[in-house]
Each structure stands twice: as C-alpha cells, then as structure tokens.
C-alpha cells in the first residue's frame, strides 16, 4: 500500500511539473495561436539555470552560488523569458510556420550548447547534487516527496490561478482576438506583434519554471533530459486535454504522462532487455499515434475551449 502511495506521489509530482510547461504552451498556442516547436529548449534553459544558481560548487564548472530554491525558480523564469525575448524579437513578425521552424532550431541549438559548453553546463555529464528543497524539512523518501508535491501543487496552483485571471482580463481577450484575426485586431489599434511577444515570453517563462522544478526534484540535469521527444510529449498533453482551456492542459498532462509511464512499464516487462531501444521507440510511436488520431478525430481535445459570450448578449 505504501508502495502504491509512494508511486502515486512520485507520478503526480512529475505530471504536475509537466502540466506547468503545458500551461505555458497553452498560453502560446491555445490562446494566442503561436506554434512553439522548441518547448524542450526553454525547459532546458530553466533547468540549467536552477542547477547553476542553487547547486554546490564544482571543479572546473561555473557555479557554487547555493542560492535559495525560490531565487532559483525566479532566475529560471528570467533566463527562459530572456531566451524567448531574443527568439521572439526576430521571428514573431513573420508567418506562423517560420516561428515553428525557428523555435525548433533554438531547441536544437540549446541542446548543443548544453552538450558542449562544459564550463557552464558540465557537458555530457551534466550537473549533479542539486539540492531538493523538501530534504531539510523531512526525513524519509515518502515524506520528502509529499512535501515536494505540496510545493509543486503550490507553485502550479499559483501559475494556474494567474493564468485563469490573465486570460479573462482584457489582455487575455486581446490574445484571442489576435489568434482569430490579427488584421482586425490591428485595425482596432492593437499591436499584434507586441502582444504575441508578451504572450510568447510569458509562456516560455512557465516552461523555464517547469524545468527548474524538474531539476530540483530529480537532483541532477543532463542534456539527454531535453531531447525533442519532450516537446512532443508536452504538445500531446495539450492536444489531448484541449487547447485554450487551462483545466484541459492540466488534465492532458496527467493523462498523457500516465499513458507514457504505464506503457513504458508494460513494454519493459514484455520486451527483452537486448532490444530496449525498440521498446523506447514503441512508446514514441504510441505518443505520435495519440497526437495524430486526436487531431483527426477530436481536434478540440477532451475538454476544449468554452465559448466566452458576454452576459449581456442574447443568442
């Protein structure tokens, strides 16, 4: 029983950490219509920032600042936001497809930097022994993970609540207006490029936040944690849950992460160890199938966008 509860806590922590990145993507794609194909890159920026800011000092690698957890979270959001600002300034005035290509490129480049800039990222070995904020408060793994779950629920809750407020604000309505018809929005005196940039940066900050929490929980970071498959996973979570609905984003994260981990468990039991690479490929094929079938059969997701109609309107 304890085993099941421990696993459930562990599962929920990761699912909720991913859901924060999905919320960020939802702001970009669901509400503003921006195609970010580089989610894994922005998560990586946040993750490495956290690792450098809060980690212990290491030989031949920058760091050793040992800053508090909260400062690490804020720093991760800032660096991810800054990376988004640079990419956004160059690409957001262009057609949507070019944004997809450019963000895909930034993710590839960020991974290269993670692999090769050893002074900052530790290269292929990555950075280890990043402090877990729940560790000093508790003893025993279950208690530690439960406290961490509370932290994730707290941080994720703040992100969710703020996003719900944001998308119902005038600024949030403007996002949808730009998504539906940028020219019409511009004719009303709004600046689509500027608002797209704001939404893009804010969404990427949430991805950075998610990466920072991931690193604090796992305790180490390496370039292989941010392969492009992460981007696919985050996208599938959003599409399954339903874009332009924050509840859908969280639901999708839990469902898809559940499918991913349980299929991984089943495959590891069934597939002999010699061909584990094929087992991993099966999981990826499954995710790809879910994504494509969902787009074909139920494009709005499990719980899609709700119509937002003024109280004063009569339909």
């Amino acid at each position: 029983m304890i085993g099941v509860i421990s696993y459930l806590v562990f599962f929920l922590i990761l699912a909720l950490i991913f859901s924060i990145a999905v919320l960020g993507l939802n702001l970009q794609w669901g509400y503003t219509g921006l195609f970010n194909a580089g989610v894994a890159g922005f998560i990586a920026v946040g993750a490495y920032t956290m690792a450098i800011m809060t980690g212990p000092s290491r030989e031949a690698v920058m760091g050793g600042f040992e800053l508090p957890f909260v400062v690490g979270l804020l720093g991760a959001m800032c660096t991810a936001g800054f990376a988004a600002l640079v990419v956004g300034l160059i690409t957001l005035r262009l057609k949507d497809e070019y944004l997809a290509v450019a963000t895909f490129g930034i993710a590839v480049t960020i991974q290269l930097v993670c692999l090769n800039w050893e002074y900052v990222t530790g290269g292929t070995l990555g950075l280890i022994s990043i402090p877990n904020p729940a560790k000093p408060l508790t003893d025993g793994p279950l208690a530690q993970n439960s406290v961490f779950l509370l932290i994730v629920v707290g941080v994720g809750g703040i992100a969710f609540w703020s996003l719900e407020r944001i998308v119902q604000s005038p600024w949030g309505r403007m996002l949808k207006a730009i998504r539906e018809d940028a020219d019409a929005a511009a004719s009303l005196g709004k600046s689509p490029t500027r608002i797209r940039l704001e939404s893009f940066v804010l969404g990427c900050m949430l991805m950075g936040l998610s990466g920072a929490l991931y690193v604090a929980f796992i305790g180490y970071v390496s370039p292989s944690d941010f392969l492009p498959i992460v981007t696919f996973q985050i996208w599938t979570m959003l599409i399954v849950g339903g874009s332009a609905n924050n509840r859908g984003a969280v639901l999708g994260a839990i469902i898809v992460w559940g499918v991913w981990t349980s299929s991984g468990y089943v495959i590891s039991k069934l597939v002999p160890t010699e061909i584990q690479a094929q087992g991993g490929a099966m999981q990826a094929v499954l995710i790809g199938l879910i994504l494509v079938l969902m787009l074909l059969c139920r494009p709005r997701g499990l719980i899609g966008e709700r119509m937002n109609v003024s109280r004063h309107a009569r339909i």
Binding site: I90, L94, E97, A100, G105, I239, I275, A281, V292, P299
Partner: protein
Amino acid sequence: MLLQHIADGVLSGAVVALGAIGLSFAMKILRFANFSHSELLTWGAYFALVFLGFTTAFSDFFGGNIGPLSFGWPLLIAMVLSAVATSVLALVLHALVFEKLGRGAGHMTMVFASFGIALLLRHVVVLIWGPNPIYYSNELQFAVLLPGNVRVMPDQVFLLGLTIVLVVSLHLFMTRSRAGIAMRGVSENPDLARVSGVNVDNVVRWVWVIGASMAAIAGVLYGLTVQLRPELGFGLILPLFAAAILGGAGSMYGAVIGGLVVGLSENLSVMIIPTTYKPAVPFLLILLILYFRPDGLFGERR
C-alpha cells in the same frame, strides 16, 4: 584545406538541395511547413536497403560494381524502386492525414500533424531496422586525389553528377510537361488555376510524388556517402528548412542554391567555430535570412 571544405560543402549541399526541393514545393503549394518531409529521406534510404536485398540476388546478371564506384546496378535499381515506394508512402500519408486536415482545420494544424507523423515515422524505422547504423556496402573505397590536394570518393562524384541530372530533368518537367506547367500555375495562383481547368487535387498528388522521389534519392545518396541511421532525416530537418527558406518557398532553383549555400556554410563554419556547433549553422542561416529577406533570395514579395 579551404578547397577541401568547399568540395565537402558542395557534396553535402547536393543532398540537402535534393531534399529541399520537395519541402519548398510543400511550403508553397501544399501551404504548410512539413516537418515530416525529412523522414521521407530516412524511409527512402531504408526502402532502398530492402530492395537492395532483392536486387543483389540477381547480381550475376547485373555484373559487379560500376567502374570505381562502391556499388553496381542493383543499388541504382533499388534507388528507383525506393523512390516509387516513398512516393506511395507520401500519398498514403496525404490521403489519411493531410488531405483531411487541410480541408477542415487551419494550416497550423497540418504543421502540427506533420510533427506527430515525423515522430511516428522515425520510431517505426527504429522498430523495424533497429537503432544502429547500417551501410549499403562494407567495401572500402579509396579517395581520388584532385588538383589542389582535394580528396573525394568516386561515390561522391556520382552523387554530384546525379543531382545535376535530376535538377535538369526536373527543370524540363516543370517547363515542358502539362503536369509541370499546371504545378507552376497552382503555385502562382490556385484559384486562377482551378477556373482555368487545372485539376488541383492531381497537382497536389504530383507535388507529393516529386517531393518524395527526390527525398528518397537524397536519402539513398546520404546513406551511400555517410551511413543509414534512424536519425538520418531528423538531423537534416534544419538544413532542409534553411535551404527551402533561403531559396524562397516554391522556387526549385532557389532550393538548389539554398542547399549549396547551406552545405558550404556548414563545412566552412568549422574554420571559425568548434565542429561540435556545426549543427547550429543552418539555424543561424534561417534567423539571418528571416530577418533580412523573409521571402528568401528568389521568392516573390507578398
């Protein structure tokens, strides 16, 4: 050293150019950035491997290797069969997914679906052929020394020659044949082409067939001169997009020149930046071109 880098750049650029032709057409005529296009290169290369198994069974009939090349007629026939098989694969994907989505959903949903399909295709390759690199032939090949101390493999010279032949024949197809002219018409103005009696659905199928065939041949050439691995196409996504965007969507010559520019700048970049950062060069090219000339070198301003 400089001449060697230029030679390598032209050779790798030729593969990128062939792959980028289909991508460029897709961006202009199918109106979406097809992220799964590069997986057609992978599938083309592996299809040829399967057909090569059949054709080598008749190698007595075909004779041995052609001249100094590392392969003979069996591989060339396998390459043609692979182009057909890859075209069928592309048409199936079009019928099952992209055609449906193109009608209802927005074009970004298609970009998105192409993402999912790329993931599927890449990992199915791992499932069928395994994750390790494979070669068409294990024969050792000796480099030929050209003037200027440049070393090239005979296979690479073949690659360049075949690319030139393909581009010239594609040029003739686009300018002389009815299907080619219809394709250009749809690319310029789909509505006008439709009212002039062009069957747009057929043109779209032609675009897939040409793009997939070129991709398959590019994949085989890559497999021949480098190796076959499941990430073959994935690693070429950015170079292909860089070439297509550089040349301007819809422009065949643009894609070819774009491919050469990408190949050259990748290979020349190692003189300034560490080799490990080479894969980022196409991305920097994309950013530069999107910033200064968003419609590409040969694209029309809209």
